[in-house]
Symmetry: C2
Subunit: 418 residues, 2 copies
């Protein structure tokens, strides 16, 4: 059975029930009476059903599923009129805003076909993404400021599985991917919730150490990379769990292996070479290199997908500056899997990475309350977009650089020094 | 494979492409530049993809799919808080309204699990249905007045197939149901579009004959039935195709075998016995009987689902009066199949039927332009609900009754007399 609607995991409903429970308890930490927005592909229906069941049993007031369908999306990007990509229905944007105002938690299930839009005009994706981000700017801000609990997690979709595990039979590829997801989110541990508690504590310790240093910059070196990333004034390190306005902790990414903070938008210099491909809007960008001066990309080159890369950079002024820098050891459980997942949620947790575009306001102290002017003054970048890409490998060294120029080795050959 | 997400027809994509094409050409008659709203279960994704592809290729500007998922719905009706069923999200209602204003055609794909909500508190469905109908009243009016082209058609869902063809293996049941759908929508003819043209012409001829009679009432007799249905003043017979504001004909139901018009809300008297079960909100109502006086139900009894029946009648004042009377010969292709489909779209085209609740404004001359007062004066019933149920069988006789009391035999033993 090679049909996109019938992946093997549909038989794993029992395991999905345990997974759904973990996503709600640890990822979202859903509170009784709260609403839950789920963003998912129709292919993920077996998992979404378990999520809905667990959410309602846990006292959710309403579970609103915003479905997408890969085939419908592909038909649109292939055949719809070009100018129809410039607007988003008003009621869709209103819906995001209203759910945000009502404190709906957001669970995004990723696992789309990495090649979904292959062969379509990238201008269409660019217009669509801009229109969508513009229409949903308020909700994006709310989420990126942890104004509601949110979690991005994965569903073992068939097309994704076949991309990540080429050469395997479809059912085997899905089984392998599902096993990889289970390992990455610690579902294979005897006590997954306890394992997450320990893991989050370890990431919080790492944040504490980095915060204590209060570095002025990080310096990345490796094959093709010599990049100095100045950090935002008053930056703080994030990672593991975040805190909702209610005070309840939640885990924004499952899996997550990173600690991250905000670069200073005007203090990034040097050259960086991506260590893994980047999937953006169903197009693969690979073998690429960016040169920065005073924070901005001044030169970009890609062996594959250069047009798509340029479209990202051209989104707006902030799209060619950095909004995130994240450290992940090469030996992270996901890195150890030795698999290129072709999905940012996984690949970014296998390697240190940086992101073009909008910074998380929580990456500076008091950031969620900062106005636009003050956020910019602190060096926080703003943009409609936020695109992570991997720069770390087992050949990457990272130093922390203090304000006085003193250097502290943080990572050597892709691993933490301490 | 017995999984609800993997019915056999997912393998029939090629046939779905032909079916999708027929639904758009004959059912909706989609015009270039128009928007299309599709209402469907996630299970119907393989057909919805073909519809989207065909619509975009045909020049659709945007295809908005409003997905539902049976499992998510069931989880909600089982476990959500009771008072959460009384409201519909504002943005959802706004969406229906906005799409209506923009002239979006509406394709509804039915084929849900007839027992979807079995075992849940029927009060929940009743609250939900009322809230939904109240929130979407404007859009419902637009559709029922043919203000936009619309079509209700079927998808061969697994749970539905297993209900209609009990005892068969799941794959076989789906294959049988899909074959029945193909026959019913004339997809098995060499020229389905041409076959629909002839069929619609035959129904229009029948309408013409009935309109010429201008009966004051119809009189149904059969086992347990002796019902006089007065017709609305200035009523006209509908059936086959309708006409959109653009002048383009469309077919609101595929399949369709009925001619129908509006009863007078205050002129229905006698007793009627349902000839087939009624599925409403995932609950089965069977073996039931209604007694009417001066248009209103004064006594209701059901062997099964009586509580659900009473809830329909209690929706509002108009829910216990009639909004439609339809004539279908027992020998219709769907009646001939000899199958109880447990789905109104099919079963109502196997037998003459009546509907509790709102009348179609187009059932009286100039009805789409009538104000509420004038519509009521003509005898058109109004309600939040519209629920069809079957009263015809091979033992049913129908007479037309003129204003002076003269009777014209219309049907004998379930068949047209002429």
């Amino acid at each position: 059975m090679t049909d996109a609607t019938a992946p093997a995991p549909t038989r794993n409903d029992e395991r999905f029930a345990v997974y759904a429970d973990l996503l709600l308890r640890v990822g979202i930490n859903l509170q009784a009476g709260q609403g839950l927005m789920v963003r998912a592909q129709t292919e993920a229906a077996p998992l979404v059903r378990c999520v809905a069941e667990a959410a309602y049993r846990g006292g959710a007031r309403f579970v609103e599923v915003l479905w997408n369908d890969a085939g419908v999306t592909r038909a649109r990007f292939r055949h719809a009129p070009q100018d129809s990509f410039e607007t988003v229905p008003q009621w869709r944007a209103d819906g995001m805003r209203q759910m945000g105002e009502q404190g709906y938690a957001v669970l995004s299930l990723v696992g789309d076909d990495p090649d979904l839009l292959e062969g379509t005009d990238p201008e269409r994706w660019s217009r669509y993404a801009k229109a969508w981000q513009r229409a949903n700017r308020d909700h994006q801000r709310l989420v990126m400021s942890d104004g509601v609990p949110w979690c991005v997690a994965a569903y073992p979709g068939l097309a994704w599985a076949r991309k990540a595990f080429r050469g395997l039979e479809p059912d085997d590829a899905v089984a392998r991917l599902w096993a990889a997801i289970r390992t990455a989110v610690r579902l294979d541990r005897p006590d997954p919730v306890g394992a997450w508690r320990s893991h989050v504590e370890a990431l919080h310790r790492r944040r504490g150490i980095l915060d204590a240093h209060a570095f002025a910059a990080l310096h990345f070196t490796g094959p093709g990379t010599d990049l100095r990333v100045g950090l935002a004034d008053g930056h703080r390190w994030e990672g593991g769990s975040a805190t909702a306005p209610s005070g309840a902790p939640f885990v924004p990414n499952m899996p997550t292996e990173e600690v991250f903070t905000a670069p200073h938008r005007a203090r990034v210099d040097g050259v960086v070479r991506a260590s893994r491909p980047l999937i953006n809007g169903g197009t693969v960008i690979d073998d690429f290199e960016l040169r920065f001066e005073a924070g901005a990309v001044v030169k970009a080159r890609a062996g594959r997908g250069e047009a798509a890369l340029r479209r990202i950079l051209d989104t707006d002024e902030g799209a060619s500056r950095l909004g995130e820098v994240a450290l992940v050891p090469d030996s992270s459980p996901i890195g150890r899997a030795g698999v290129l997942f072709w999905e940012t949620l996984f690949d970014e947790n296998a390697a240190s990475h940086i992101a073009l575009g909008k910074a998380y306001p929580v990456s500076v102290r008091g950031g969620a309350e900062l106005g636009e002017e003050d956020a910019r003054a602190a060096g926080l970048n703003d943009s409609l977009t936020h695109v992570d890409f991997m720069i770390g490998s087992r050949e990457t060294d990272v130093d922390g650089v203090a304000a006085d120029g003193a250097r502290t080795p943080l990572m050597r050959d892709g691993e933490w020094v301490d």
